[in-house]
Symmetry: C2
Subunit: 274 residues, 2 copies
Amino acid sequence: MTQSHAPLVREVIAVDEHGQNRTLFIPAERALTVYVDKRELVTLMTLGAHPEWLVLGYLRNQRLVDSIAEIESITVDWEVGAAAVKTRHGITDIEKRTEKRVVTTGCGQGSLFGDLMGAFDSVTLPDSKVTQAQLETITNAIRLQDSVYKQAGSVHGCALFSALPESPETAEQLIFVEDVGRHNAIDTIAGWMWLQDPKNVQGANKVFYTTGRLTSEMVMKSAQMGIPVVVSRSGMTEMGLALAQKLNLCAIGRATNKRFLCFSAPERVFWQQI
Amino acid sequence: MTQSHAPLVREVIAVDEHGQNRTLFIPAERALTVYVDKRELVTLMTLGAHPEWLVLGYLRNQRLVDSIAEIESITVDWEVGAAAVKTRHGITDIEKRTEKRVVTTGCGQGSLFGDLMGAFDSVTLPDSKVTQAQLETITNAIRLQDSVYKQAGSVHGCALFSALPESPETAEQLIFVEDVGRHNAIDTIAGWMWLQDPKNVQGANKVFYTTGRLTSEMVMKSAQMGIPVVVSRSGMTEMGLALAQKLNLCAIGRATNKRFLCFSAPERVFWQQI
């Protein structure tokens, strides 16, 4: 796997309401075309912070590969905007599995919702909870996080936290990722998790944070990573809620500082006596 | 064309940080599968306010139909979540034209950026401008607009304004559309515009407003509608900027009240003497 970073912001000049030039930053955005065993799969528009994790997580979240052991190498070359994925044995039926197109709310990474609800019939998420103190730690960590967002705006952020029952007063941030698309951000985390945890057993006592809305795909991707608690500073969509209820996944929205709204599975929150 | 409205918000109960139940609204979100001449094309997740305009605008913005005259009928049936499009003569090469997949920043409605930049070589936008007073009228109109966003959050809004040189102090809102995905919102406006203006001549002296970021697709879709000025309360992405500069499209971000940043084509703004 290469480690192809690229500059994350670009300096531009804009004209403000007084007609004055102002120098500011905007997030970088570059096309990365993914080739799997030399066959073109998809072009992702990305900030470019962690393209290899992104590609790995994309393949994982699209359920094109079932295990990281299927991947031999991922090579990113920004000169040509390409990520070359080599699999060990090819991906069976890749044509057929990538043909159906759905433009979803959180946008277009192509899993059909009906199929999806069915596919999750057998999913049982780990039996873990989160405390209110841990939630507050998480929102504060995000607030204080140094970020492209603070410098340039216009990006979504995701983070993964460890929230252990033996440390009910705190949570530990494991990784924070930003991208121009929030799907890219979560896919990057999915790729990173697979590298840390090839057998995908560590969703328990994890909390997934996103700055974006809790759409069905956010809930779905969190469930695929085995993470039972999702937190957002934004709101919830109807299909996101339906899927979260079905999965018994705890979806917490409008989370800032001490405040939040728990939309599903409130039994996964230790409620403080107030 | 049917006129299939559907409820736009749903009442749900969430638990707040004090452990208290709170009743609130979330935006509706429903799957609408589009069939063109009985062939399944795509599934859109939508709020459902104006599904017929949405489907029409989707076909237009994906450049699957070149003229509204090619459409015989669009029938939406929420019972089965389907939109049946009948064309007069079929869409040539529909298989091939819908096969390439790009997951773009603003998310995944599938036009390849390289192709795209080429496709716009011949586009010349109308030679119209906007005044600062008109920009202020626009941001104020959006602020005061009654909306699903105010009631339930978690939706994007788009609007189309007429900003005439003979009325430099004001702008008129022609249509305001919200959807769970901002692509749906702009596609809905594109569909509505086609119904008002089948020959697509009325982009001049129009301003397109979006609550979302100014990504390449937003710029592209505005250009396809012939609209030379785009305004957002949000920021700009790098590819959005590149495309706007190429098209000489005036992209204005961070617009609230009197404040804004003009990222491209500042000659399209009448700058007040301050």
